[in-house]
């Protein structure tokens, strides 16, 4: 690739990886963008990504080719491999010769599978911001000892950009979700008051008695209080909620 074209692609890659807040965001699509740029810009044969979920489990495998996708899955299934180690150790792994004794000893099943898929070298860099790792990026080459340090460094730079993009997006998502929860909580409070008032008027009871009745009904029918109150106001609540309170039986 000519230098000007490569520079332009590099700039494009960093822009793509930062641009997570406009339009729809799908993590899998975004990780494909990352692996595509990595393969285009670095001297590597293939790239894959493994993400860590909130509970520390490895999830969300993405890769530039089908065979690497399988290799990432192998790491999850056998709980061994450079991506897995990189996720848990929060630092880059390799490059390692896949037929060398170190790799064979450390990841017996993974290195066998990788060699079978035609790869000679592997490296992994973390998707990391300060202390937090959210996943790792695997780089594969077909020749042994073929991954040069410059490629690994650039891989780390792209992984850093992607991490910032993903964390921005997560933050924006969390906040949007909380705005929704706030609105829901407020609406819920209001509709409960409205339903109380409705029963007050319909049954000539006090607001406290109305609330007790609504709560008992919701509990007996295992329905959410808010949902029941919405049904009261829409006229679709069960009729027994409106049964006239029985007058106390006079003592004979």
């Amino acid at each position: 690739m000519a230098q000007p074209e490569r520079d332009e692609r590099l700039a494009r890659a960093f822009l793509d990886l930062a641009d997570t807040l406009t339009g729809g965001f799908y993590l899998i699509d975004f990780l494909h963008v990352l692996t595509d740029h990595v393969v285009n810009l670095l001297n590597v044969a293939a790239a894959g990504v493994v993400m860590i979920d909130a509970h520390g489990r490895l999830v969300d495998v993405t890769a530039s080719t089908g065979s690497v996708h399988q290799l990432e899955q192998v790491q999850l299934d056998f709980d061994e491999g450079p991506c897995r180690d990189c996720c848990y150790q929060h630092e880059s792994i390799g490059p390692m010769d896949l037929s060398g004794p170190a790799a064979r000893e450390r990841w017996p099943r993974f290195s066998q599978a990788a060699r079978d898929a035609g790869f000679g070298t592997v490296a992994a860099v973390p998707l990391r911001l300060r202390e937090e790792s959210i996943g790792s990026l695997n780089l594969f080459h077909i020749h042994p000892d073929a991954l040069d340090p410059a490629s690994v460094r650039l891989g780390q730079a792209l992984a850093d950009a992607a991490t910032i993009g993903i964390l921005h997006q997560r933050l924006a998502n969390d906040q949007a979700e909380r705005v929704g929860q706030l609105q829901t909580a407020l609406n819920s409070r209001i509709v409960i008051e409205q339903a109380k008032g409705y029963l007050v008027a319909r049954l000539s009871i006090s607001p406290e008695d109305a609330f007790a009745r609504i709560r008992a009904h919701a509990r007996a029918h295992q329905r959410s209080l808010t949902l029941l109150c919405e049904q009261v106001m829409q006229g679709s609540a069960g009729t027994e909620l409106f049964a006239i309170p029985a007058a106390p039986r006079p003592d004979v």
Partner: protein, 232 residues
């Protein structure tokens, strides 16, 4: 000014560490730190604004909010609708056409200056922080900076899980207009109209009879006001 600013910083720090939502932020002390007479926060909801944060002793501030709710106009509502601060250094200097129903109603009110700042997250409008003062005059630059910082901090506190929780539970953030929503539900049954219409009639009655809307709502719920014919 520097002492009040550090008061405010201490109040905000304490509230955000308490994990008790807005309930941990004392409105009267925040108002004092900003050299204002009162502060309220209302949240935007599809049926209007809900007053969720005020000092129970702040009668003029609560009355100002209720009046705006009844009349459907005022600086707090403007800030909610436009998403921009509405600064009124002197209510008496405003042309009556700006808020034709509210301004006459506020004439005998101990409120001269109102500062309404929107609470927002990006383009999402959440609510309004409203400050008031009994004397006319602008907000100084430092006061404005503090008021904006308070608005921002209140937004953050509201958006913590505890901020939501407090509104969902009954205690630290009681819904000031709960009784109005009860009365709306009651009227919708008695008059056989939608909730929107029931609320409109409640507001209209309060306005035409020159009574606080909460008093009217109380009478509706406690059967002292059989509104059938009055509202029709």
């Amino acid at each position: 000014m520097s002492t009040t600013a550090s008061d405010l910083a201490a109040l905000l720090a304490a509230a955000s560490q308490s994990a008790q939502g807005l309930g941990a932020l004392p409105p009267a002390r925040c108002a004092a730190a900003l050299a204002l007479d009162g502060l309220t926060i209302s949240l935007i909801n599809h049926s209007g604004l809900e007053l969720v944060w005020s000092d129970p002793a702040d009668t003029p501030g609560i009355a100002l909010d209720d009046l705006q709710y009844t009349l459907g106009e005022g600086p707090t509502l403007d800030a909610a609708h436009t998403g921009r601060p509405t600064i009124v250094p002197d209510l008496h200097a405003m042309p009556e056409t700006r808020w034709p129903a509210l301004l006459p109603a506020l004439h005998d009110h101990p409120v001269r200056a109102v500062f309404a700042l929107p609470l927002h997250l990006g383009v999402i409008r959440l609510g309004v922080l409203t400050g008031r003062r009994g004397t006319p005059g602008p907000l100084h630059r430092a006061q404005m900076t503090d008021a904006l910082a308070l608005a921002e901090a209140a937004t953050v506190i509201l958006l913590t899980p505890d901020g939501v929780h407090d509104i969902g539970s009954n205690d630290p953030l009681p819904l000031h207009r709960a009784l109005i929503h009860q009365a709306t539900g009651a009227l919708s049954y008695r008059l056989g109209v939608s909730l929107t219409d029931a609320l409109a009639r409640l507001r209209a009655y309060a306005y035409t009879n020159d009574r606080p809307i909460l008093d009217v709502a109380h009478d509706v719920i406690h059967h002292r006001l059989h509104l059938g014919s009055v509202f029709k």
